[in-house]
């Protein structure tokens, strides 16, 4: 929970506040920050009124504002089906009305709904650092950067023609996912959010896809990805490993 709320009126103001407060966090849809079990933070900087909720084409790239909600993205004709499939992993409509794309990325959860899809789409982020410098970076770099929480995500940029397929395996539609995986064939990209492990780039699978492998080969390669997989309350490590292979093969097979 946060102890104090400030409502930013401009992007610069939000970043400025954050720069002067180590324990301040950006507050977007609030479905992560304000929910049970969330970390305590001194101050939340609300970024809901910064006009970052536009979905637009920028040249050949689709730009999705960071405060676009899951619902707004699902209702947009511009957003590609592949991403919509991943957005629907968040099963509660009410939550989709609140939760934002930027918030989901920044939360970097090990059961992330959309990071695997966005990685498979080779998405980029337009971000602003604490010194107010604005830059673009690959989503994967953002995910891999342990200090990325300092960055304000402004836009998510992606190729609307990117073709991906995603699957989320969970016991109920709203319980934690054991695995959420997305795959693209061209370029060969594969990413999974693995409960208890984190967000993992499936490099073995990517190489195998690039070589045109599929079926049993992908099943084996996927299940042998070198990441550490652990037992958790919903699934054993063995089942998750097995799924890494099965999903990789099925998703790639489906795209072919």
């Amino acid at each position: 929970m946060i102890q104090k709320l400030t409502i930013a009126q401009s992007i610069a103001q939000a970043v400025n506040w954050k720069a002067h407060c180590a324990d301040c966090i950006y507050l977007s849809g609030g479905t992560e920050v304000n929910r049970l079990g969330s970390e305590d933070h001194q101050e939340g900087i609300s970024i809901g009124r910064l006009n970052m909720d536009e979905i637009r084409m920028e040249g050949s790239m689709l730009a999705i504002g960071a405060t676009v909600t899951f619902t707004e993205a699902l209702e947009s004709d511009l957003v590609p089906m592949g991403l919509k499939q991943a957005l629907r992993h968040m099963d509660s409509m009410t939550k989709r009305n609140m939760a934002t794309i930027g918030g989901n990325i920044a939360a970097k959860r090990d059961d992330s709904y959309i990071i695997p899809a966005l990685v498979a789409m080779d998405a980029k982020l337009s971000v602003m650092d604490l010194d107010r410098s604005q830059s673009q970076m690959s989503l994967w770099d953002y995910v891999s950067d342990p200090y990325s929480s300092r960055l304000l995500i402004i836009d998510i940029l992606l190729d609307p023609k990117a073709r991906i397929a995603s699957r989320r395996i969970s016991r109920t539609a709203q319980s934690h996912a054991s695995i959420t995986m997305s795959i693209s064939l061209d370029p060969a990209l594969a990413c999974a959010a693995i409960k208890g492990t984190g967000i993992v780039r499936l490099e073995g699978v990517e190489k195998a896809i690039a070589k045109g492998l599929g079926g049993k080969d992908l099943e084996r390669i996927g299940s042998e990805e070198p990441c550490q997989v652990v037992d958790d309350i919903h699934a054993s490590a063995a089942y998750k490993r097995y799924l890494l292979g099965i999903l990789a093969a099925d998703l790639a097979g489906g795209l072919r």
Partner: protein
């Protein structure tokens, strides 16, 4: 910070704290039906509101963010207590049951219909995807939308809401709308939390971090210094009274093995100290400052660990018998550590607490050994069920105050009179000093048959004189509440080649956890509500319940029956498949029919000899045949999902009881108000199921008066007479019969009084709709209002008041069959529940639409424990999935794709107007029906619930 917004179209301005949630702001502003049922988890949707026309969770929005916004709350839907079309349709469709989330659901459906005039099933599913409904399942929400759409378009409903029963009756067996529906759906004050007075104290618990430990000392010095702390109660200053939490008939078939606070903690989350403080913050701070020294002991968690030689005793206290003391008790008690406390047995439960046996029961008919010898095939299988939480949306709550020197409890309980007895005992005061007001109950499902918060809350008020609120968090519901007993059920079954069963043997080992509430009755139900389904001459059962250090167990809809049913039916289905006999034929060959003498019942009484009776009205065979026809049993299912999916079908036959004949007792009063309307004071505790509506209907039916002119006051120990309470499916049969008898007795009084006033012979008089007496001889009529006016005018014979008392030895057993069709993905293990058909004989369904929703709700709960739900403990006994998301309750996405509830037309000889019970039974079928269907699809007989994808794949040897 100051914010301006509109709430329900009215401009409002608030000064809000920075971290204040929107919900807290709204509740302080009087919109108390914006609730929280999951500790701000963002799961259950009790806090749904609209911000600028969009549904959101108010607990996850900070108040400071809504400046300039338009907010709509559920109580803003209806104007001047006038139901909207949607709210009315929800009541009419029967979905307003315990209704904690009904206002929020009404808001969502209204929002949907404002956007889409005729929404598809998918759109309705979407709109309801963020709201948890535990009571009525979700199926009739689709019907409610359909009704609303029709009403908006044409001014009336075109769809039949539910089938009608008993043409000769006006109200019974017809849809009518639940009498408390408007109050609940509009979000008016109804629940305990709506009754709080400003400035009341809060009671919070310091809970044990250990599964088993003696409390060496508790130092509350620093805690007591916290400003606002009123009292700290511990084992060292609480009354030395042993009792148990189960609200059961007296003498209770459970050991009294606990005090308010004990010197030994027996599970993680057990009570250590209760802090009464003026604010929740002060209570939290005091809890932080209490210093406890523990002597940590080795815990046991499973039945196997509890049974093991040398296992530590969970309840090692001195045994005391109030009756039937066994020989050698002094020797047995030798060496008992006083810190263990005592175990007081109202009567012997065949226990051996030193070896963790809380209770046991055994019985048999025929010769099982001979029966197995006569069999062509015998199989023996062991099934294990998990610990499951009832998860009522309204967590356990009590609000107690002193009023005129008496203790008044606003309670969310299924058992007001047992609650009064137990609380009086704990506080050491006579029962006349305690007044229990059962408020509307936002979901009980058995868990509110236990006195889990009221004891401490009442005692806190009694010793401090302060109004006290005690409200469980969602997490506390998991680790400190009552849950389904985990059970190990071993079934041995033998049959001839033609499928005729020659012998059945059941061995049930139940895990009661730290305390013995329900330790006999719940596990007994694993046998008593399953074996009597079978026409088998040789049957034997052994039931043993063990103490362990898991979180407490207790009653949950169905008691032990879902577990027994899972074992028995799965075993029969597997035996059928091994014999090459059709499972359906085998069931039909072995199931009981009307008139069959149930000798097995002799050993199945709850703590005493059972009553052997023949099978009464019985729709079992009809249910099996109907379900078989609906699901096209024997016909290969169409597989539209592709080669990775395998389809299978299964079913289970089920039964329950209607209360406890010979143990339960209900009473009611019916009186005529001075304008000829009727007040019924019923002891029955309506927990959302529609029991008050039953009382209204039977009264209206007997007295020929419009239900509008009948009011029921129920579950209030001051104003209504005694009733054992709403458990064991007793409501309709017992409390309903009491209201019926009260109405019949009032009818006699009306006729007698009318005979005097009309100067007619009583035998010539009849009651006639709407509310008058008519003479068949002279044609003269007398309106009730005139009759009662004369009776109460100072020269008459006074108010007409009649009592109804119902106790019986007769049984009204509901029967049924539940059918399932599953699709199993043999690559991922995913299980899709394609079809679920619940076919039940509930006698005359007095409220057919409510009965159907009870079936949907109970079936979905049991689908929950079959496929998803399970409490998980770590090696120290900590429940590590104590939230909805972690635990995994079924939401609308988990609904069977094709879900049907069917009521058979059966008329019972003993139930009120032929009615039997409806809902508990509906929890008994899912596990075996789905388990058999999975086996039918994949060949894997899963022997532990929940049936997860992983278990299917392991069974198939996939990894």
């Amino acid at each position: 910070m100051i914010i301006n917004c509109t709430i329900n179209s009215k401009p409002r301005s608030f000064e809000v704290e920075a971290q204040q949630t929107l919900r807290s702001m709204l509740v302080l502003d009087g919109h108390f039906c914006v609730r929280d049922s999951d500790d701000c988890e963002g799961f259950a949707g009790s806090d749904t509101v609209l911000i600028d026309g969009v549904p959101v969770y108010a607990n996850l929005v900070l108040a400071g963010e809504v400046d300039g916004c338009e907010i709509v709350t559920p109580d803003g839907l209806s104007d001047k207590r006038q139901l909207t079309i949607v709210q009315q349709a929800m009541i009419d469709a029967g979905i307003v049951q315990s209704a904690y989330n009904s206002p929020a659901a009404a808001l969502l459906l209204t929002w949907l219909l404002n956007r889409v005039s005729n929404p598809t099933r998918e759109q309705i599913k979407e709109a309801l995807s963020g709201i948890f409904i535990r009571d009525a399942g979700y199926e009739n929400y689709y019907l409610a939308v359909k009704l609303a759409v029709e009403k908006i378009a044409t001014g009336h409903y075109q769809t039949q809401i539910a089938p009608a029963f008993r043409d000769e009756l006006r109200y019974v067996g017809k849809t009518m709308g639940k009498v408390d529906g408007p109050q609940l759906v509009m979000g008016e004050r109804a629940f305990v939390e709506d009754r709080l007075q400003e400035g009341c104290c809060t009671l919070k618990m310091l809970r044990s971090p250990y599964a088993s430990a003696y409390i060496r000392s508790i130092d509350t010095t620093e805690a007591e210094k916290v400003e606002g702390v009123v009292k700290i109660i511990t084992a060292f200053n609480c009354p030395d009274v042993y009792y148990m939490s189960a609200g059961q008939g007296n003498p209770e078939p459970s050991p009294h093995d606990r005090r308010l606070f004990n010197y030994k903690v027996r599970h993680v989350g057990d009570r250590v100290a209760g802090v009464v403080a003026e604010t929740a913050e002060a209570a939290d701070e005091a809890i932080r400052l209490i210093k406890v020294e523990y002597e940590v002991l080795k815990p046991v968690f499973t039945v196997e660990e509890a049974m093991a030689p040398g296992a530590p005793a969970v309840q090692g206290g001195k045994a005391v018998y109030l009756s039937g003391q066994p020989e050698g008790l002094d020797k047995y008690n030798e060496g008992s550590d006083p810190r263990e406390g005592q175990i007081v047995y109202p009567f012997p439960l065949h226990s051996d607490s030193k070896h963790n046996v809380a209770s046991s029961a055994h019985g048999a008919i025929g010769d099982v050994k001979k029966g197995f010898e006569e069999a062509d095939m015998v199989i023996e299988r062991t099934y294990q069920t998990s610990q499951v939480q009832c998860t009522p949306l309204e967590t356990h709550i009590c609000y107690s105050v002193i009023d005129n020197g008496r203790l008044t409890l606003h309670a969310s309980t299924q058992v007001p009179w047992h609650l009064r007895r137990i609380v009086a005992n704990v506080c050491q005061i006579p029962e006349n000093k305690v007044h229990v007001i059962k408020e509307r109950v936002g979901g009980g499902y058995g868990s509110k048959q236990d006195i889990l918060v009221e004891d401490a809350c009442a005692y806190a008020t009694w010793i401090t004189g302060r109004p006290v609120l005690y409200h469980n968090t969602r997490a506390e519901e998991f680790f400190a509440n009552s849950t389904r007993h985990p059970m190990r059920v071993t079934v041995k079954m033998g049959a001839r080649k033609d499928g005729r069963i020659t012998a059945i043997q059941m061995d049930v080992r139940a895990n009661t956890g730290p305390y013995g509430n329900h330790c006999l009755t719940v596990p007994m139900n694993a046998c008593s509500k399953t074996l009597p389904l079978f026409k088998v001459d040789n049957m034997k059962f052994d039931v043993t319940t063990y103490y362990t250090n898991i979180p407490p167990t207790g009653a949950y809809q169905g008691y032990g029956a879902p577990k027994g049913s899972y074992g028995l039916m799965m075993c029969m289905a597997e035996l059928a498949s091994k014999l090459g006999v059709d499972y359906l034929d085998m069931a039909l060959k072995n199931c009981v029919t009307e008139g069959y003498m149930l000798e097995i019942l002799k050993g199945l009484g709850e703590g005493r000899e059972g009553n052997v009776v023949p099978v009464g009205s019985c729709g079992l065979k009809e249910a099996i045949l109907k379900g078989a026809q609906m699901i096209e049993w024997g016909k290969a299912p169409v597989n539209a999902l592709g080669p990775d999916w395998k389809i299978g079908k299964g079913f289970a036959m089920i039964q329950q009881g209607s209360g406890l004949p010979g143990l339960d007792h209900s009473t009611a009063l019916a009186k005529m108000a001075t304008d000829g309307t009727i007040i019924v004071q019923s002891g029955g505790a309506d927990i959302g199921t529609g029991l008050d509506t039953i009382s209204v209907k039977v009264t209206s039916e007997v007295l020929c008066i419009d239900p509008e002119f009948v009011t029921v006051i129920s579950g209030d120990t001051d104003s209504a007479p005694f009733d054992t309470g709403a458990y064991a499916s007793s409501g309709t049969f017992f409390s309903g019969n009491a209201s019926l008898i009260a109405a019949q007795n009032l009818k006699e009084k009306i006729l007698a009084e009318a005979a005097l006033q009309m100067e007619e012979d009583k035998d010539d008089l009849l009651l006639e709709y709407p509310g008058q007496v008519v003479s068949s001889r002279t044609g003269k009529t007398l309106l009730y209002k005139d009759l009662i006016h004369t009776a109460c005018s100072g020269t008459g014979r006074g108010q007409l008041i009649a009592q109804g008392s119902f106790a019986t030895k007769a049984s009204a057993v509901p029967y049924g069959a539940h059918f399932a069709q599953v699709a199993v993905n043999v690559r991922t293990g995913e299980i899709r529940l394609q079809k679920f058909y619940a076919i039940q004989d509930a006698g005359t369904p007095i409220n057919p639409e409510l009965a159907l929703c009870q079936m949907y709700g109970a079936a979905l709960k049991s689908i929950g424990h079959s496929l998803y739900e399970s409490m998980i403990l770590d090696e120290k006994g900590v429940c590590i999935n104590a939230s909805f998301t972690d635990y995994g309750v079924p939401m609308i996405a988990e609904m069977p794709e094709d879900f049907k509830a069917v009521l058979l037309d059966v008329n019972d000889a003993y139930g009120p107007f032929g009615a039997k019970s409806i809902s508990e039974i509906a929890t008994n079928g899912a596990a075996p029906a789905i388990g058999v269907a999975i086996a039918n699809a994949t060949g894997v007989w899963i022997k532990t619930w929940p049936f997860t994808a992983e278990k299917v794949l392991r069974g198939m040897g996939r990894f």
